[in-house]
């Protein structure tokens, strides 16, 4: 099996599996809110895990909150911010290439009367900095994605933060770090963002846990009300198991990061060359994160290529689903200005530290076989 769908989800790593198995069988099942010693033990461990995650991410422990997923983190950040900071204005800056967890929230806010300015992006996936400069004066929040999930395009974060610092220091920045975590260096204390979201299962953790970062002095309203857990930011009994699994996944990812990056950069460059040689069009920008490679395959609709690869136990993904009636094409690729026909053949290969060069060679061999066997017309 060759698993090239790591931007969708990843296989839980050994560290996570071992930790979860062990903790499930232990006495660490108490409710961190309980007053007896089982609860106290769980609470102590929960605090340790929170502090550890915070330290790895370059944040303070009271800036880190555990949620159920990246989408919950995004929803809490954006909705929580505008709800709490009504007086700082009703203008928001973003792009149309954000993840749906951001776009759907923004669309709801538009219906509620907020003005959302969507900055156009170039063929390289980068937002037009001049448009940001023009709009930032009366803007209260900017929402961006650190690494785009479909193309791997990296946000010019430093430029954006510097524009903000020069032109409107009051404008907060929310950054979706779901795809960049474990792949790019993340140091929240130095990045200049006020809020950020993360997800466990994209870094070889398990589904059901995400993290929300809210910088001290940034005030936001919670999305989920209840018992006031996690300092009232996210009610609901804390899951020590899920939080610990996140810590284990994060530690492992950060430890392996630099070597994995080097390795995947080589694999990516090999695949880019080989695929381009065969007349396919690489849609990921040249300077994209090497963990994502979006390619338009000549003569194959996205879904057909996906099913062809599936025959050989190779798993990729496509956002373009074709049915005989409605043809859905990736809104992200269209926003990049990519031709609809080319976008409708787009397939995303996404890698993780587990992928090898041998797999990449096997992949290319298989693609050749698929062309020989299944290409029509």
């Amino acid at each position: 099996m060759i698993y090239y769908d790591n931007s969708a989800t990843t296989r839980p790593c050994d560290e996570v599996r071992d930790l979860v198995t062990e903790q499930l069988a232990s006495d660490l099942f108490g409710n961190p809110g309980s007053l007896h010693k089982l609860g106290v033990a769980a609470d102590k461990e929960y605090k340790r895990v929170t502090a550890s995650v915070a330290s790895i991410l370059g944040a303070k422990p009271d800036e880190i909150f555990f949620t159920s997923c990246g989408s919950e983190s995004a929803n809490t950040a954006i909705r929580g911010f505008v709800s709490r900071n009504k007086r700082s204005g009703s203008k928001i800056i973003s792009t149309r290439t954000e993840h749906k967890a951001t776009l759907e929230v923004l669309s709801l806010l538009e219906k509620e009367g907020y003005e959302v300015v969507y900055i156009s992006v170039g063929r390289d996936g980068k937002p037009d900095l001049d448009q940001i400069r023009e709009n930032i004066a009366d803007c209260s929040l900017m929402c961006f994605t650190h690494v785009n999930n479909e193309t791997g395009a990296i946000l010019p974060l430093e430029d954006i933060v510097s524009i903000r610092n020069t032109l409107n220091r009051k404008c907060a920045i929310y950054l979706d770090c779901v795809q960049s975590l474990g792949k790019l260096a993340i140091d929240l204390g130095k990045m200049g963002v006020e809020m950020a979201s993360f997800s466990g299962h994209k870094i070889h953790g398990i589904k059901g846990v995400g993290v929300l970062y809210v910088k001290n002095n940034t005030r936001i309203d919670p999305l989920i009300l209840g018992g006031g857990q996690q300092k009232g930011m996210r009610s609901g009994t804390e899951s020590l198991l899920l939080a610990s699994s996140f810590e284990a996944a994060l530690s492992a990812a950060v430890k392996a990061r630099e070597e994995a990056y080097k390795n995947i950069r080589e694999i990516n460059s090999y695949l880019r060359d080989e695929l381009a040689k065969r007349g396919n069009i690489i849609l990921s920008p040249d300077d994209a994160l090497p963990f994502v490679l979006n390619c338009s395959f000549r003569g194959f609709q996205s879904e057909t290529m996906l099913h062809c690869l599936e025959i050989y136990d190779i798993f990729v993904s496509t956002v373009s689903a074709c049915s005989s009636k409605a043809k859905k094409v990736s809104y992200v690729l269209l926003e990049y200005g990519i031709d609809r026909m080319i976008a409708s053949n787009a397939v995303r290969l996404s890698f993780s530290r587990e992928n090898t060069m041998e797999e990449a060679e096997e992949f290319i061999k298989t693609v050749d076989e698929i062309y020989a066997k299944y290409l029509v017309g």
Partner: protein
């Protein structure tokens, strides 16, 4: 005393000397369809079939609400016209009038808004000392006495209370309509060409409603069609089998054949060529499985391959009759039936063949014999048929 289901037979009762065969088949089908509802007694008297649990504590008969699922299953058995949930008991008229009042009491608890009613009595037991008019009048009087808010109304009452006096007595109110038709198994078997669309399951349903047991054939072109598309067809076959009874679904691996066709025959005739091959494979499968006809969901003029000219050139490749129950139906009517049989939501799942590459942008709508000869000159149809028959997965549903 206990709860029973009363099912009324329709067209079956108009049959002459062979009526017995139809009735036997109907009871057999009911038994099969209701196999998941506990041990049941299914017996018949005149044009009615009574279904009652052998064990008293069968939860499917606890009350009208609990009986919804089994009643729905009964309505899906072709040959039944309508279904009611009744209370069955023994005794003379004194018992009957007491039960009638009791039944009304429960009914009024559920429907306090009811103000008018009518009693309809039937007497199967002609030795019973009162005739049906007298039974209705007496029971009606008791009910008004017990519930003064009610008054009798012969035309359009809020509810009708039915009393039947036979070997046992029965009281019930209301009925749900069934799918009518003739019991499946009373006609010969047909092979349905099942795709993932709206039409073919409806076509299968319609032929089954005329007593025809079904088998289905589906042509699968992985990787051009996804495995979800195949799962969808299996689900559609399952929905049809709720009406037709158990059936075999033959899944023909069509990939190689289709690729050969696309590479070696003209694009604008591809659908016609494909259908000609499909029909021939379907006919061979039909012969192998003792089916006497093919069934398609074609409707005249709906798409390029369903013009009269196209039907002519596809029809000619097989000897078996091809039944096309939807041929004169409007698409809207087909959709209505599809909704009624619970197939629509599945049919419109977006897993139709994603192989737009196989469909010509401008297909020939009026193909001639010459077009067909030309289209097939570079492909070996007999080989294709053999290839298709070699790779068939059969699922019993």
């Amino acid at each position: 005393m206990g709860n029973v289901i009363l099912a009324r037979m329709g067209e079956v009762t108009l049959k002459g000397l062979n009526r017995g065969n139809f009735e036997t088949q109907l009871k057999h089908n009911l038994k099969w369809r209701l196999r998941g509802f506990g041990k049941l007694d299914i017996y018949q008297s005149q044009s009615r079939i009574w279904i009652e649990p052998k064990e008293e504590d069968n939860p499917n008969f606890a009350d009208g609400e609990a009986a919804q699922d089994i009643m729905k299953a009964v309505t899906q058995v072709f040959g039944i016209v309508s279904v009611s949930f009744a209370v069955k008991f023994e005794g003379d008229f004194e018992v009957i009038r007491k039960e009638a009042v009791e039944y009304t009491r429960v009914l009024l608890q559920e429907h306090p808004e009811y103000k008018t009613f009518k009693v309809e009595a039937r007497r199967g037991d002609k030795s019973f000392p009162m005739d049906s008019r007298e039974i209705s009048a007496e029971a009606g009087g008791d009910i008004i006495e017990a519930f003064p808010q009610l008054s009798a109304k012969m035309k359009d009452p809020d509810f009708i209370l039915n009393i039947e006096v036979r070997d046992f007595n029965y009281v019930y109110s209301g009925k749900i309509m069934a799918h009518r038709g003739l019991p499946v198994g009373t006609a010969g078997k047909g092979m349905l060409l099942l795709s993932g669309g709206i039409d073919s399951p409806v076509a299968g349903y319609m032929m089954a409603s005329r007593g025809m047991p079904l088998e289905c054939v589906y042509f699968h072109s992985h990787p051009y069609t996804s495995d979800q598309a195949k799962d969808k067809v299996i689900e559609l076959a399952r929905i049809v089998s709720g009406f037709s009874g158990t059936l075999k679904l033959h899944i023909v691996n069509f990939t190689e054949i289709q690729l050969d066709m696309v590479r070696n025959s003209p694009q604008d005739m591809i659908t016609i060529t494909m259908r000609r091959v499909m029909l021939q494979i379907a006919e061979r499968l039909a012969q192998q499985n003792n089916c006497k006809c093919l069934i398609t969901g074609e409707s005249l003029g709906q798409v390029a391959s369903q013009t009269l000219e196209a039907i002519n050139v596809t029809n000619e490749v097989v000897k078996m009759p091809i039944l096309r129950p939807l041929i004169g139906l409007d698409k809207q009517d087909t959709c209505d039936i599809s909704r009624r049989i619970g197939a629509f939501e599945t049919s419109i799942l977006p897993y139709e063949d994603c192989c737009t590459i196989f469909v010509a942008k401008h297909p020939k709508t009026h193909p001639t014999k010459d077009d067909v000869i030309n289209a097939e000159k570079n492909i070996n149809i007999p080989n294709m048929i053999e290839l298709g028959l070699k790779d068939v997965e059969t699922i019993v549903i």
